[in-house]
Symmetry: D2
Subunit: 384 residues, 4 copies
């Protein structure tokens, strides 16, 4: 069943909540979606007061201090979950139970079992789901996928992905919920490597086996209140994986949250039998492409600036090389969400695909425990 | 007199018109401006039908096929001119006569005399004006200005600016109004070098003398209709200037619209007595900075990724290095426009400042005719 | 016992042999070593005729078609082995037996057992040894080591090294000895990853455990003579390692000989508790350095161009940023060799250090067989 | 008349003298020139003692404290002038009078009149001449020339060259002969822009008219001996030129010796009707090339790493991307010198070509005086 509009309820207005709010506006103007068709209907936050202020600032019609009220509101079509990770499951299950479509930030859940429960609930209820692995929405990355799919670089034989940031590089940054397993799950693995896993799967093939290494480098951090002493850091600062894909390709994936100097340091290099491509999110509007053809004297990596010849760029600008930003990727994601819902077409990556990411993250922990390679369960491969 | 809202009438919904439309939405979400405070009220385009479609797509409440109707509408506070250059003057004068504030795309006019007439009309009427020299609104460029103003690179002794694109590099692209003096004025000079002149003035000091060179490289182009033969190109493909600034610094500015491979190739390097900075719009979210201090062994250009420590970035993202896009600069410009109007504070660059750019462009033509250096009239310096 | 001169006998005048010949000349002029002190005395190659031609071309006094004659010549102080890998052992053992110092290209041997035998022979005979892991001789890399040792980036917590080239990326390149275990040992692992292992050990700490993955991607290649059909490739095109260092740091090392577009793609990024540094051999005269200090607003990776403030650069040029080349690194290696021999001081990396590399490469194969982590024998740690 | 050997007498063993000494050795090994064929015969320096030490260090057979003795020595075929600029003329004329070939560092002379006198003396005497504009010997730049000549980028329509260094950026560096007209001639113009003029001429076409700007930024500098007070700087810190070439192309050339952060900052961008190329000496082994062909979606600047497919690289290394250094360019220059002399073939750039550079530098001063464009004398065009 198709509809002609999408009314959004946003849960959480922090970092990603604001990015979503910007993206709704941006998507409407860029993709010619009217305010009638896409309505920012309600915003939930921790208290009614905060929610009201934020709704005003971010352009939502109504607000509430209780996300349960939002989830059950009859004028909401999609629940957009930007709450902390450990709340994703409860909110999503409630939204599904209320028959709402769900758009959740990543990682979908703290572990694969929770993610499966969420996936099965959504599939049973027949609601649509989308998880915010936004990096694949970047026109540059869409173009990379296009190049791979049409065979420009031949058969993919290697993927190397790195996602390094330095948001916890300072050992004196205070202890917080992010460093505790019960609230955050794993560390750099969950926050950063999850994107790499999803990108690798999206661009190359399913991952079928892996071997991993995790390390907590800064084992204690001072509590925010000096009198509380120090907190014991429970999750990884650095995460490594060697992987094999179902198509036979090899890969290496690594992430760090303590890599000084890297701010949004997601990069990948994909090697095929005919060429290679290289991407770095810190220069998100360009792709380096090497193709083995023509005069060897003039072979080299081409620096391609994304432009109107590439997917979805033209909606933002008709001139090449003018540069898109981080928030523009989210606008593409919103456009996907909108089209999927109003046209009743599939969304990607949905809960099942995101569950596959959670499964792989769980296998990482298993591999670390065993100090050996492990085989990967193919949950997304069982998609009906 | 302050007000609490800004109602916008947009004239023209092509390239820049759409960029403005995106920017209004983007600015509202990023800078917490409510829909009550900033209203996209009316859109004018060539025909009522087109205007209606575009108003729908871009989120404007009403539409009209006659910009004169928009200009005189009582529910419009600001007229936003995204019409072709040769119409700027007529629309702006009409808007000013109707007591509207005016926000115009650059270049302000086809020549300095027209620009002066517009400036004087606006100043007499007491309306506010803003001209869309958007590159100075980029947080990275704002940061460059901050570095210069607080003396981090010492006294500026040199500015080199290049603005190269390749939108007319193909000699077989058809003849058009852009290539005729009566509609477009000069060529690369007007389109591209105007930005460099404004940037140089903004970042260094007023330009007091110059010597220039202009060249039409592709002298004829085929008409769009083959039976019309060829058109004679009347304006420059390449433009060069050597300049001197009032503070004694030297500069070189050059622009080309036929520079293969450059898409938004606006770059500058500013040298001071203590250091240097380098910017390239094709990587708009980074600045290279060299400071002569500390151990010579570890001196080098620093690649600084723009982040929340820098002006206006935090409104878009709380994490450094996540990258802003071209449209985000326009959102900052809209925020400036909004604040200037609701708080009744000065806007920059206004018509007078933009007229100074037009004056310099006219001196370029004069210098080319004389094959010699010329002194520059200081119109903006007479600001009251 | 010190001496005042070094007379060289070079075995092999192919790729690396010529590089050595250039380096002897280069080192003499750059480091003020006279022709009296450093004599290119004899060159051995496959036939007397070839040897004579090459000696003439490369500036050696005498020549021979029999390396055994060279090894036993009384006017030779150092035997320089640039013969194919599988001959290293026999030549080195003969040279040692004749009381000569030995300077060998890497990898030292095809496996750890051979390398140990060579090491023990040399140590018993009291001759000096040096192995051509030239990348650590680069002034830029020497500077990186200096930065690490003096604590500029704090304690090292991570090393990532990649060494990718594309010399076998074309699947139609003919079958050769390089692809057979008995002649070449492993593939990309031996050729390329061996450098990473040595660099990581040199810059960070000994490697104490590892887990690895190897893959032959192009399993068959056409024989050079079409009638011979295809050859079965026996060694790895791609090699991965996750490692742990004795200081607790983590690392990832990977190499490929089929990575389209990479020509001398040796790069590393080293993260410490206070900063990071990044090097790429394709731009061998620059180092990127990030230090967490000062105003966060002006933090960024510094691009440092190597110059006379850095180790050994001044011998080549007194101006910074003028760029050294690949052959200049070899000249530094020759200078080290000369000084070690005439002053009777230690050489680095010697056979024992190089044997540690061979041991690690053998552990890689062991890990692949076990599909698990393995502990690394510390042979170099037993150095007396 | 051909000969079979070249015996060199080097005058001056400072910065460039040592670079030449390294280059003689390097050229012999790289290009298979024997010690019999190329003899480093005599070195002259300021005193006999210094000359003897330097001859020993740099590998010259004999030495002298009097360059006149070297110039008249019967066992010298080529006089290599690495003495300060103001001595070039006297030494060259004496060498020519003695029937020697002359290889001089650039700039050839302090002014065009001197250069013409030197050229005419050499041409009358029938000796060969070569001037050390080494940047055109770089395999990367040779490749650029090849691309232009075979039409890969179409007709050249624009050249932009910048040569910035920071060797005098510190205003407290002491006063010296370099800052006085009688010893150094002009400043950044002579030292740096002379290379740009030669490169532009070499790569594009003769320069037929120009307009220039020169500025002394730091007008006084402290004398080395504090009691001597300050010295008045007489020559330019920054130099600008706009030029027109005989083929109709436009160009801009600029140089600075006070540009913080630039160490060997010679870069150029050449635009043609079909493509563009970009070079930066600080990464001297790569060229960026953009060609307008094929799918617009995959157009971009290619980063080409110089390798054995390109001119003269293979002599140094058989693998691509291994990087040449500054000194390697000089080795190519020496190879040219050697071949020209032993084969009696033309050398490039000779005194006449270098005189054309001096003529242009003189026109720069004329243009600055006139504050206008000037026509350029075509001296090299009168070559017989």
């Amino acid at each position: 069943m198709t509809t002609n509009k999408m009314r959004v309820g946003l849960v959480g207005s922090g970092y990603m909540g604001k990015a979503h709010a910007i993206a709704y506006r941006n998507a409407m103007a860029a993709f010619a979606i009217s305010q009638e068709q896409l309505q920012c209907e309600m915003l939930a936050d921790a208290t009614p007061e905060l929610a009201e202020i934020k709704a005003q600032e971010l352009g939502f019609n109504r607000s509430t201090g209780d996300w349960k009220q939002l989830v059950s509101d009859p004028h909401i079509d999609v629940v957009d979950i930007c709450a902390p990770n450990f709340l994703h499951k409860e909110i999503a299950l409630a939204a599904i139970a209320a028959g709402k479509h769900v758009y959740s930030e990543k990682p979908l859940a703290l572990n694969a079992d929770d993610a499966k429960e969420m996936t099965e609930a959504a599939e049973s209820a027949g609601v649509k789901t989308l998880v915010g692995f936004n990096y694949i929405k970047n026109p540059t990355v869409q173009f990379a996928k296009q190049l791979i799919e049409r065979g420009d670089i031949g058969d993919v034989v290697h993927f190397r992905g790195v996602f390094n940031e330095d948001y916890l590089a300072d050992a004196n940054l205070p202890f917080s919920w992010r460093l505790q397993k019960q609230f955050a799950g794993t560390g750099a693995l969950n926050d950063l490597a999850s994107h790499l896993v999803q990108l690798a799967t999206h661009l190359v093939a399913p991952i079928c086996s892996l071997c991993a290494d995790l390390k907590v480098v800064h084992k204690q951090r001072p509590c925010a209140q000096a009198e509380d002493g120090v907190g014991e850091v429970e999750n990884d600062d650095q995460a490594h994986m060697m992987v094999r894909f179902t198509n036979g390709a090899q890969g290496t994936l690594e992430a760090s949250r303590i890599a000084w100097g890297r701010k949004n340091g997601l990069s990948f290099e994909i090697t095929g039998t005919k060429g290679s491509l290289v991407f770095d999110q810190e220069t998100l509007s360009e792709l380096a492409l090497y193709i083995n053809e023509g005069n060897p004297q003039t072979q080299g990596f081409k620096r391609i600036l994304v432009g109107p010849e590439h997917p979805d760029y033209r909606a933002f600008c008709v001139s090449a090389g003018h540069g898109l930003g981080f928030n523009d990727m989210k606008a593409v994601e919103i456009r996907d969400l909108f089209q999927g819902i109003v046209n009743n077409t599939p969304l990607w990556p949905d809960f099942r695909a995101a569950t596959q990411v959670n499964i792989i993250l769980d296998h990482v922990v298993e591999s670390v425990d065993k100090r050996a390679w492990v085989e990967v369960e193919q949950y997304d491969g069982e998609r009906k």
